[in-house]
């Protein structure tokens, strides 16, 4: 298969993409010609894409298309994978995220992450939230910070009377909102979510989606999801990734096929591959 240029409506990503409530005016991430390999095997190739401030940006695509690999580039999680190599450029507010003087720990404070399976610490609800701020020396007004953060994550009313109880006693959906609260506690700029609702029941999923809608006014959110309707419901922008076979037969890697406003992707996609994927005509 020939490598084709992805349909990216970058021209619209500036002023035109700004929502009526003013979100999306600034660029948070600028990705240029990004290629990621694991032990020499290319997993994702040649991605160019911008992420706008206060937008919810969804990455969709079949298994193996590199969307999780890609989201992990935004807070340097791939640094933790032995043999991982990231080439190209990821600018965060115009600064090279992979620059020599950049501290990955500071990157992960500003750019928080929530994973597929809720992973609270086996500690109290309070301590789960207070953990990050304590490590970072944000000890003043900790009680207020915990309350504010839990309110932000729409969990306060459910847990305010049992803050000292073990977080593992919460339901799956509550645990996931706790993990979102934990990410919010250190005042990040961006929240990355890697399939945050795929292990949850529909009611918990709706709560997470409602939460995403609330949080986008203050945070920039990037979400990987297998659930296309979820992308359609929550995202301002959607990027579709697909798998491409290498011409020399040496394997396959992920590519960005199309990146556009979510409404466009789900009503009139520009690329046949996107059309086939979103309409379920793949395979």
């Amino acid at each position: 298969m020939t490598v084709s240029t992805p349909h990216i409506d970058s021209g619209k990503l500036g002023e035109l993409a700004v929502t009526p409530d003013g979100r999306g005016a600034e660029t948070v991430f600028t990705v240029r010609d990004l290629t990621v390999s694991y032990s020499g095997n290319v997993a994702l190739k040649g991605v160019d894409l911008d992420i706008q401030k206060n937008f919810v940006t969804a990455f969709i695509g079949p298994s193996g298309c590199g969307k999780s690999t890609f989201i992990r580039c935004f807070n340097r999680m791939n640094d933790l994978v032995p043999g991982a190599r990231v080439e190209g450029e990821v600018l965060y507010h115009d600064r090279d995220l992979y620059g020599a003087n950049v501290d990955p720990v500071e990157v992960r404070r500003r750019i928080g992450m929530v994973f597929q399976k809720p992973n609270p610490f086996p500690k109290s609800i309070y301590d789960n939230i207070a953990f990050g701020p304590r490590i970072l020396g944000m000890k003043d007004g900790l009680d207020e910070r915990v309350e504010r953060t839990l309110q932000h994550a729409a969990l306060w009313d459910e847990v305010k009377d049992r803050l000292k109880e073990n977080a593992l006693g919460l339901s799956g959906g509550q645990q996931q909102r706790l993990c979102i609260a934990r990410a919010l506690a250190v005042e990040p700029d961006v929240i990355l979510m890697d399939e945050p609702a795929s292990a949850l029941d529909p009611i918990s999923t709706s709560r997470i989606e409602d939460l995403i809608h609330q949080l986008k006014n203050e945070y920039t959110i990037v979400i990987v999801t297998h659930n296309m309707q979820q992308a359609a419901r929550v995202a301002d922008m959607t990027a579709f990734f697909s798998v491409e076979l290498r011409e020399d037969g040496s394997g396959r890697h992920g590519v960005l096929v199309e990146y556009d406003q979510t409404t466009k992707v789900f009503t009139n996609p520009s690329d046949r591959r996107t059309e086939d994927y979103v309409t379920g005509r793949f395979g």
């Binding site: 359609a232 009139n268 309409t279 793949f282």
Partner: protein, 221 residues
């Protein structure tokens, strides 16, 4: 091919739409015939026949509601479903216009017709039937160019409509012709609207294929 059931539902919807179109064309031919023959019985048949057209519309609407709820169509599937619903409504309205033509013709049955006006109305009706056929065929073939051609045919209907109006105005001073003339002005207006509805169906073909909705002509046209 994945989503076999879903595709079968979409195919079924399109088939029902074409079926509704065939029924509407039959009603339209009936309406043109009653103008020519002033056959009162045929008028009643055209009126009664509208229930068949309406039943297809309600069937399509119900199936689409179920499809939206169960299959969440997106992209070209979503556009197809929306276009079918629009077209079904347009056809239902064409059916209503045929009913009005038949009712007015029945009311005017005892009055003296004016042969030039009847000729003009028959010409308009035949052109309208041709337009409805083209609109349905081009939708089925996803042929945007053919659909765009409907605009020119619509202009011919509009032109004849003006001619008919002038003829009715000219005969307005002749005693005993006013009632028939007024009724036929409304008949002309009904047929003229059928042409517009056929253009509307053409616009849905363009929407389905391109993903963008544009009226082929603006309202000032």
């Amino acid at each position: 091919m994945a989503r076999v059931e879903f595709q079968a539902s979409l195919d079924g919807l399109e088939a029902t739409l074409q079926e509704q179109g065939t029924l509407v064309l039959r009603a339209l031919r009936g309406a043109v015939d009653v103008l020519r023959t002033q056959d009162v019985e045929l008028c009643d048949e055209v009126v009664a026949f509208d229930d068949e057209v309406d039943a297809r519309y309600h069937g399509i609407e119900k199936s689409i509601a179920e499809l939206l709820a169960q299959q969440s169509p997106v992209a070209s599937d979503l556009r197809l479903v929306l276009a079918i619903l629009h077209n079904s409504i347009h056809l239902e309205r064409i059916g209503d216009q045929c009913v009005t033509v038949a009712k007015l013709t029945k009311l005017a049955a005892g009055l003296e017709p004016h042969s030039d006006v009847v000729e003009g109305l028959t010409e308009m009706g035949e052109r309208a039937a041709e337009m409805v056929r083209i609109s349905l065929d081009s939708f089925s073939a996803r042929d945007v160019e053919r659909a765009r051609g409907l605009v020119e045919l619509d202009e011919l209907i509009d032109r004849t409509n003006h001619r008919v109006s002038d003829q009715v105005l000219a005969m307005a001073r002749t005693p005993g012709t006013q009632e028939w003339g007024i009724r036929m002005i409304i008949v002309a207006r009904c047929i003229e609207r059928i042409g517009d509805n056929a253009v509307d169906i053409g616009e849905q073909t363009a929407f389905l294929v391109t993903g963008e909705f544009h009226e082929f002509t603006d309202a000032s046209h």
